[in-house]
């Protein structure tokens, strides 16, 4: 491990490897000791770092908002309540703007998506080596602190959204209505035979666009955060290349971090807005 970290490739590799718990080649259950070992564990393994950070940040968000919600007052709000109300108001405005139906789930859904993803993205702004080094002191060798750079996390959320899309589509339009929407559009014909011929074409087009929703949702977030983290890692490598490059890297790091504040917020906002829009589509009847 120590020899691996001396090279740039090793450093990057090390930063991109999750702390994976699963079945080791010898049949024992435990943490993988290398990226190759983690890969060999197959599907029934878990990225403990992503999962733990994701849940810790989710709990942080939930408890923070819960503590405000408990002693919330309609009178003059305090500082924390002001902040929380500002976010709620913002989410509520977004939901009202894009969602025309009436479903009490959409507001909380949008709030959770936005705040949770924002917090997970925010981990990117913490110096790339800080938390992994601290964990290394306790013998934990792999630690990816930004859950949204793990496709498992982004796909986990987008597939959850996809399920909600399917659930509400079927609930609001019925199985027939939903299947009809998939098979009878966009190509339509008066003639029954021609219409029948169009069905497979429509199914293919609509099916692709339906599947594209969760895939694009997950990959957009993952790609942006992964690329952002990669740039932080590359900048971090420059620190070891002499004081001149190191100073330049400091400027770069600052610039990228400031720019990244925009990206993490934007990505969280896009995920939230698309979730709301997809939910709206699932609630709308097409005739």
């Amino acid at each position: 491990m120590a020899s691996e970290e001396l090279t740039s490739t090793g450093y990057i590799q090390h930063h991109l490897t999750n702390l994976t718990y699963g079945q080791l080649p010898d049949g024992q259950w435990g943490f993988a000791h290398s990226a190759a070992e983690a890969k060999a564990m197959g599907f029934w393994a878990i990225n403990v770092d992503s999962m733990a950070w994701s849940i810790v940040l989710g709990l942080f968000f939930f408890l923070l908002f819960r503590s405000v919600a408990k002693k919330v007052t309609a009178g003059v709000p305090g500082g924390m309540q002001n902040f929380v109300e500002w976010i709620i108001e913002f989410i509520d405005t977004s939901v009202r703007g894009s969602f025309s139906g009436n479903n009490p789930l959409i507001g909380p859904l949008a709030l959770t998506v936005f705040m949770w993803i924002w917090l997970m993205n925010f981990m990117d702004l913490i110096a790339v080596d800080l938390l992994p080094q601290i964990f290394a002191l306790f013998g934990v060798h792999f630690m990816k602190v930004v859950p949204t750079t793990d496709p498992n996390i982004t796909f986990g959320m987008s597939i959850a959204v996809f399920w909600l899309i399917l659930y509400y589509s079927v609930k609001n339009k019925g199985v027939g209505g939903f299947v009809g929407e998939l098979s009878l559009m966009p190509f339509q014909a008066r003639n029954k035979v021609v219409q029948g011929l169009f069905i497979p074409v429509n199914l293919l087009l609509e099916g692709v666009s339906l599947i594209a929703k969760p895939v694009s949702l997950a990959l957009r977030l993952f790609g942006n955060m992964y690329a952002g983290e990669m740039i932080f890692i590359l900048i971090a490598i420059m620190y070891s290349a002499g004081w001149a490059l190191g100073a330049f890297a400091g400027v770069l790091q600052l610039g990228w971090a400031i720019f990244h504040i925009l990206i993490i917020t934007l990505q969280a906002f896009i995920f939230m807005t698309l979730t709301i829009v997809y939910m709206d589509m699932a609630h709308q009847e097409h005739h």
Binding site: L16, N18, T20, G22, A38, K39, M41, G42, F43, W44, A45, I46, N47, S50, M51, S54, I55, G58, F61, F62, F65, R66, V68, A69, K70, V72, T73, A74, V84, E85, I88, E89, D92, P104, L105, G107, P108, L109, L111, T112, W116, D150, P151, N152, I153, F155, G156, M157, I159, A160
Partner: protein, 156 residues
Amino acid sequence: MNINATLIGQFIAFFVFVWFVMKYVWPPLIHVLNERKKTIADGLAAAERGKNQQVLAEQHAAEVIHEAKGRAAEILARAEKRASEIVEEAKDAARTEGDRIKAAANAEIQQEVSRAREQLRGQVVSLAVVGAGKVLKRELDAKTHDDLLQDLVAQL
């Protein structure tokens, strides 16, 4: 970057968090926001109502002041009229009183005059008697010539 069971874990965690937020976070906060919105709207409406009422009250006050001014002018005019009436009455009373006093004084003067005349008459008689006595160089008996004297007095 392997797809593994983390996906399922995140999938479950997602629903759990959304459900928690829907149950414990969102309703109280949105309720309070709506409540405050309503409070502010009510406050603004009340302010608007108050403003209207103020305008009405000002109009009412102006009316009352106008009416009071009219009444005051009326009272003033009546008072002035009454004052001139009183002055006239006083003038009349004074004139009557003056006349009465003048008449009384005239009567007294007449009385005085007649009394003085009586006295004068008496003195003239005495003087005449004295004068006549001196002329006749003898004492006249007033008693004897009383009728003569009386006659004289009547002629004065």
